[in-house]
């Protein structure tokens, strides 16, 4: 292998790939990046076996070939190199790097040791704009479960159906769901459960303006735009029926300024129990009261003006869940819907007049049982 590459392209490629390689691994080759030089340029790949990233960057290849080399070290070197062309060659299992008067030799491993990234065909795939994809990921993936007993909930549900695209994530205590209109396609509805780590790579590597192609092969999914590809294993199993738990009969509605509510809840959370973060919300005409009482610590009380319709209500919440959801609401005001103190509450953005975008965003949060 022998090629010359600009420092910028080398650094861009290494930066994209090295973030996907595991920091600690029992398989040494995984801390390496795979370099493949072909007539079209140089491909760099990295993977932690769950998620893989591959990027193709232009390079002047004089001898095709491949080798794996330590990813983090190469990235650190590339960052410090002068802005001059970099010549990369291999000698056995060593990679040599020359740039200006700098010269490095690093020990690598044969490319055969490197795991093969899934062969996903993008021919019959789906298309989504970067903007759509990123917005869906941003607004939902925070809600995935980190608890390992129900692996299904460790992923984001991605539903692609005729004319729309939807992502849902939940940990069983709160749920985020977003639906956006998508270019019509003839596909029947498909569902994927995607690990959030893969979606993070998508967020990191793809821009809003890019057109992303998504392909599936067995239990793997691939995302591609330009020369950048992200591969992931899908989580297998059937996602719980989220639609069934979305309340249809909420009859108490509060519209409130998002920032006001957020800062009030944040204040209350200071005094809330570290363990349950429990706060108490009381709603009556024109007023929302927030209360917190934590034994051994103290209590707090706050009031906010709201537009409230319906019977008075008292309900308990984990303040951390409320804050998290409020952070992802983009509008000035949010609408909260309730039925009863033991039933799911809904939170949704309130869009201004004439801002109908066809985007539906809804979060659910289950209450904490209140003690009397």
């Amino acid at each position: 292998m022998n090629f010359t590459i600009t420092r910028q392209n080398l650094h861009k490629g290494l930066a994209a790939v090295s973030a996907s390689i595991p920091t600690k691994t029992t398989l040494p080759v995984l801390s390496n990046i795979l370099f493949e030089a072909t007539s079209e340029g140089v491909r760099m790949s990295g993977t932690d076996l769950d998620v893989g990233v591959r990027i193709q960057v232009p390079a002047d290849v004089s001898l095709e070939g491949s080798l794996t080399a330590p990813g983090k070290k190469l990235q650190e070197i590339a960052r410090e190199l002068p802005d001059e062309p970099v010549r990369i060659t291999t000698q056995g299992d060593q990679i040599e790097l020359r740039c200006g008067r700098s010269h490095f030799k690093l020990n690598g491993l044969p490319s055969e040791d490197f795991p093969t990234l899934p062969a996903v065909s993008f021919e019959s795939g789906w298309q989504a704009t970067g903007e759509t994809l990123l917005s869906l990921i941003h607004h939902t993936s925070f809600a995935v479960s980190t608890e390992e007993s129900r692996p299904i909930l460790n992923g984001v549900l991605w539903e692609l159906s005729d004319g729309q695209m939807r992502m849902v994530a939940t940990n069983g205590h709160r749920l985020a769901k977003m639906t956006v209109p998508a270019a019509s396609s003839s596909h029947t509805t498909v569902q994927f459960i995607v690990p959030p780590a893969a979606l993070q790579q998508v967020q990191r590597l793809f821009g809003k303006e890019e057109e992303v192609v998504v392909g599936q092969e067995g239990n793997h999914l691939g995302f591609r735009s330009g020369g950048t590809e992200v591969y992931t294993r899908l989580i297998e199993g059937s996602y719980p029926n989220y639609d069934q738990v979305i309340p249809r009969d909420n009859d108490k509605w509060a519209v409130v300024d998002r920032k006001t509510l957020e800062s009030a809840v944040r204040r209350m959370a200071v005094v809330a129990s570290d363990q349950t973060h429990r706060i108490r919300m009381s709603l009556a005409k024109e007023q929302m009261q927030l209360n917190v009482l934590t034994p051994d610590l103290g209590e707090g009380h706050d009031e906010i003006e709201v537009q409230f319709e319906g019977d008075d209500l008292e309900i308990g919440f984990n303040a951390a869940y409320l804050l998290e959801i409020l952070r992802y609401m983009d509008t000035e005001e949010v609408r909260l819907g309730f039925k009863a103190p033991e039933r799911a509450a809904t939170i949704e953005p309130v869009s201004g007049e004439g801002e109908e975008s066809g985007i539906e965003y809804l979060c659910l949060v289950m209450p904490l049982r209140l003690l009397d």
Binding site: D274, Q275, L368, D372
Partner: protein, 582 residues
């Protein structure tokens, strides 16, 4: 008709009393040593021959007696300690019945030698079977020596009940040991047939006396107890829970230096250990009570082995509470320290080590500035603890092996078992929340539908009220299925379903843990704590480590989990220094 009822001659009355007071050489020794202690002896020496059957000799350096007093002391009910019945209730001294010496004298050949005042000659009195044979002057130092020979020579029926020499010697040794605990400031020496069985110098306090008696290790395993309430004061030593073992135990109770037996107080002590030791474990308990005058009747039994408290419940409560409080302290934590002294090697401190040092590399980092020898600052090993107030800085914490928390504290290191620590935290939180109506449950978007074996289903139904208070909202669905609508959230990685199943299984079929519970609330809380706590293998981030540490030390018994295992193992700086030969 002739009179059939007669007042007994004193000698006979004394022999009868002797039957109550004097059972065996050990009781002779006990009575004589108590007399010595009442005479404010600083040193008591005991000599035995034939396990005390042939000879008991008790010598003290106490106040001594004048001749008149010495003669009176051999008269029954002659006592220097009680003048009227009102004194009887306010007793502070050991003997008071005035029975001991005459009783012993009536069943042995007794020689009493005593001197009270240097200005007067000492007195020697020889008594046989209660009859005074000889009284004469003698020269001696201040104090009293009583020699008792041929115990029960005139009561062969009683002599027959004496056991072999070894057993009697052991009984004497135990009696002296027990008394020596109550009087650490008094020196004791016990010799049998020329062999020294005990040689205890005056000790500064009880722990030192324990170390003299049973070794340093035993002393290090004991932690101090202090308590006060309703006029009672309690001091003593109890065993660190991690050192307690099943089987053999030592217990001793004293009231004003007087040993007594009261199983109920020991049981109260055992109750204090609840959840800190495994159920069959029997920790050592050594307690001394100071009681208000009139609240205790020691005149229940001639040997005063039993006492009667006016308000025994209050005393039991004090014992339980004080021991519990002692177990709350850091001293009750398990320790890595050893009492084995390691060879002390004096090593000259090298100049400050560079980063290259210690890695096995031969290269050393050259220091830009060498620290002058006269640099200010405390010398290593210099005691500064007492001078510098405890820094407000919180301890630094690390998670190690995804199972333990390593904490750097002022005087050493703590290793905390994350699961055990969280168990303790959850147990106390749940127990407290039972009083306030329960703890919050997080309602579930997707309720858990669980099929349970019939017995477990019944248990879940029966306990649904208590389970509800732990946060598990359980509803019977009929058949063998329950629906869990709400779950507690003890930590972010809580597996509610698994925890619930394990808990119901444990509560249905029992386990060593839940059998140790006192009531249903405790059973549920223990099981919940055990099944819901963070497991070993769970990675904790910095904040979680800190939170667990803070919550553990906010509990009442941070050093013990609910199974009776330690949550914390301590390694003192002193021990580290010793290990490294500093």
């Amino acid at each position: 008709m002739a009179r059939t009822i007669e007042v007994l001659p004193d000698a006979v009355a004394n022999q009868i009393a002797a039957g109550e007071v004097v059972e065996r050489p050990a009781s002779v020794v006990k009575e004589l040593v108590e007399n010595a202690l009442d005479a404010r002896a600083g040193r008591v020496e005991i000599e035995l021959a034939g396990g005390g059957k042939r000879k008991v000799r008790v010598a003290d350096d106490g106040l001594g007696m004048s001749r008149e007093d010495a003669l009176l002391s051999l008269d029954r009910h002659a006592t220097s300690k009680v003048r009227g019945t009102s004194d009887l209730r306010a007793l502070k001294t050991f003997g008071f019945r005035g029975e001991a010496l005459p009783s012993i004298a009536s069943v042995s050949r007794l020689t009493l030698e005593t001197q009270a005042d240097v200005a007067e000659p000492g007195t020697s009195i020889r008594v046989e079977g209660g009859r005074i044979l000889q009284v004469r002057d003698m020269a001696r130092t201040r104090g009293t020596t009583v020699q008792v020979e041929r115990l029960f020579f005139n009561a062969p029926a009683r002599a027959k009940f004496l056991r072999n020499t070894a057993a009697e010697t052991r009984a004497v040794s135990d009696a002296v040991g027990t008394l020596s605990l109550a009087h650490p400031g008094v020196a004791f020496r016990l010799e049998s047939e020329g062999r020294v069985l005990l040689d205890l110098n005056a000790a500064s306090d009880l722990p030192n006396r324990v170390a003299q008696l049973w070794g340093d290790r035993a002393a290090e395993e004991l932690i101090p107890v202090h308590g006060e309430g309703e006029g009672f004061r309690l001091v003593g030593l109890v065993q660190r829970p991690d050192a307690a073992r099943p089987g053999f135990r030592r217990t001793a109770l004293f009231v004003h230096g007087r040993p007594f037996r009261e199983p109920a107080l020991i049981r109260a002590g055992d109750r204090a250990y609840r959840t800190t030791v495994a159920p069959e474990t029997r920790p050592w308990i050594l307690l001394e009570l100071r009681v208000p005058a009139g609240s205790v009747d020691v005149n229940v039994h001639p040997t005063k082995a039993e006492v009667r408290f006016q308000n025994r419940n209050a005393v039991e409560a004090l014992v339980e509470r004080s021991i519990r409080e002692a177990l709350e302290g850091e001293a009750s934590a398990a320790t890595m320290d050893q009492d084995l002294p390691l060879p002390h090697v004096q090593v000259r401190e090298r100049s400050p080590a560079g980063p290259g040092d210690g890695g096995g590399s031969s290269e050393t980092q050259m220091a830009l500035f060498l620290r002058g020898d006269g640099a200010p600052g405390p010398e290593p090993g210099q005691e500064v603890d007492g001078l510098v107030p405890e820094p407000a800085e919180p301890p630094r914490l690390w998670q190690v092996h995804r199972a333990y928390i390593l904490a750097e504290v002022r005087d050493g290191l703590l290793l905390i078992d994350q699961h055990a620590a969280h168990e303790r935290v959850l147990f106390e939180e749940i127990m407290r929340s039972f009083d306030t109506g329960g703890s919050e449950g997080q309602r579930l978007l997707f309720p858990l539908t669980l099929r349970l074996p019939a017995a477990e289903y019944e248990q879940a139904e029966a306990l649904s009220g208590l389970l509800h208070q732990t946060g598990f909202e359980v509803e019977g669905f009929g058949g063998d299925t329950v629906i869990v609508h709400g779950v507690p959230a003890p930590h972010p990685n809580f597996d509610a379903e698994r925890s619930f199943r394990e808990m119901i299984e444990e509560l249905t079929h029992g386990s060593e843990l839940v059998r140790s519970a006192r009531n249903q609330h405790e059973r549920v809380a223990m099981s919940f704590a055990c099944k819901s706590a963070i497991k070993a293998g769970q990675t904790l981030d910095e904040r979680e480590v800190q939170e667990l540490f803070d919550r553990l030390f906010a509990t009442e018994l941070p050093y013990h989990d609910v199974h009776g295992r330690p949550t914390v193992v301590r390694l003192s700086s002193r021990e580290l220094e010793r290990k490294f030969g500093r």
